[in-house]
């Protein structure tokens, strides 16, 4: 039974901050579709706002504002219809640290393209990146149409050994097993994973991996071979 008191108590504790991680996540999701809960949260925010005065202000390091502005710049790259080549190598080292924690697979490398969920929509935005661990490794050209949430992956210098194929996977807890997004070997036939079929939050938080599989792709439908790349999508501003 959910009654008004429960909603109000839950909203109060949400604002107070005492819910555990699971309860917080559930309330965060519910408030988007339950106006009564959302309104109760806003009222509690007002009731307790004076407590913010109890916390002393602390000047943040001077480096923070430039970092924020860089993130905003990242979102704003690529004027209408143009493509931006990102210098990814420079960014890989920074990403690696995060990836080590983030990646469910061995974080060999990661390269990611920003897809911004609620981007202000100028015209169609395309981002382009080359996925490559180092000069000797296979490379894949990835483009993302931000508006349509469509990613295109095409091998550039990524010939797998004879009898093998590179296969792209999307990996997320909510999907259960890794889901194949297709074989990415044929330079003439780019794979266009329909990311639109996945929920935006899943697209954002999934790990993407390319594995080396038997020719034609994993026979079982699950990844079997070594991971060539894996990484997550980041907002473009995070590069």
């Amino acid at each position: 039974m959910i009654d008004a008191d429960d909603i109000d108590g839950l909203a109060g504790e949400y604002v107070l901050g005492t819910l555990d991680a699971g309860e917080r996540a559930s309330v965060s999701a519910r408030r988007l579709r339950e106006p009564a809960l959302n309104a109760a949260i806003q009222v509690w925010e007002r009731r307790l706002a004076a407590l913010n005065e109890a916390v002393p202000a602390v000047t943040p390091p001077a480096s923070v504002l430039p970092k924020i502005e860089a993130r905003l710049d990242g979102f704003d790259v690529a004027p209408a219809g143009s493509a931006t080549i990102l210098d990814l190598r420079r960014r890989v080292s920074r990403w690696r640290t995060t990836a080590a924690v983030a990646s469910a697979l061995a974080a060999t490398l990661a390269l990611t393209i920003g897809v911004r969920e609620f981007a202000p929509k100028p015209a169609s935005q395309n981002l382009v990146a080359i996925l490559q661990k180092d000069a000797a490794s296979p490379a894949f050209l990835v483009t993302v149409n931000v508006d349509d949430r469509v990613m295109t992956v095409r091998p550039v210098a990524a010939k797998p050994e004879a009898g093998k194929s590179h296969e792209l996977w999307i990996i997320h807890d909510s999907l259960g097993k890794p889901k194949s997004l297709g074989i990415v070997d044929d330079p003439a036939r780019a794979v266009k994973p329909e990311l639109a079929n996945y929920k935006p939050d899943v697209i954002q938080s999934s790990t993407y991996a390319i594995t080396l599989e038997p020719e034609g792709g994993s026979p079982s439908g699950d990844p079997t071979g070594p991971v060539v790349f894996s990484g997550k999508m980041l907002p473009a501003g995070d590069f």
């Binding site: 901050g17 005492t18 819910l19 917080r24 965060s28 706002a49 005065e53 602390v58 905003l72």
Partner: protein, 181 residues
Amino acid sequence: MTTPQDINALLARVARKDRAAFADVYRATSAKLYGIVLRILHRRDIADEVLQEVYVKIWDRAGDFNPEMASPISWMAAIARNRALDEIRRKRPESLEDHPEFLDVPSDDETALQRVMRGEDGKRLSDCLSRLDADRAQMVVLAYCEGLSRDELAQKYGQPVNTIKTWLRRSLAQLKGCLGS
């Protein structure tokens, strides 16, 4: 000194993607928000990262801000607290004793409650808090300002978690009744 009205006007410009206004909002509010997230997270490295995310969110959502619903600083503080609490609940960082360098959160002589006394709303709230049992009032302040979880409060007060939950809900209901509406 930037007044709430100034910040309202700046946020309206931020909603139209005005970067200069955004930088002004940052300069006027970042010490407040950084204080809030640092108080909850205790680690400057994590607080720096969270603060960045908070301002990116403010940039994205400035259009949703409704000055009739909340003061601009309360609206931004709610974004900052939610982000910091999500972070701290997801994973408590390793024991702080292992990282003395992260304990450099400024200590304050004034007690939190005394500082709340300032301002109209603050007086009302601290009046109502003072009508609760002293430890219940302290519990509310520790949860809100320091980000203590039910488990941590249970440890601190030597009570089962369910008792803490009951006390918190009861304290909230009393505060609501006292504050009206």
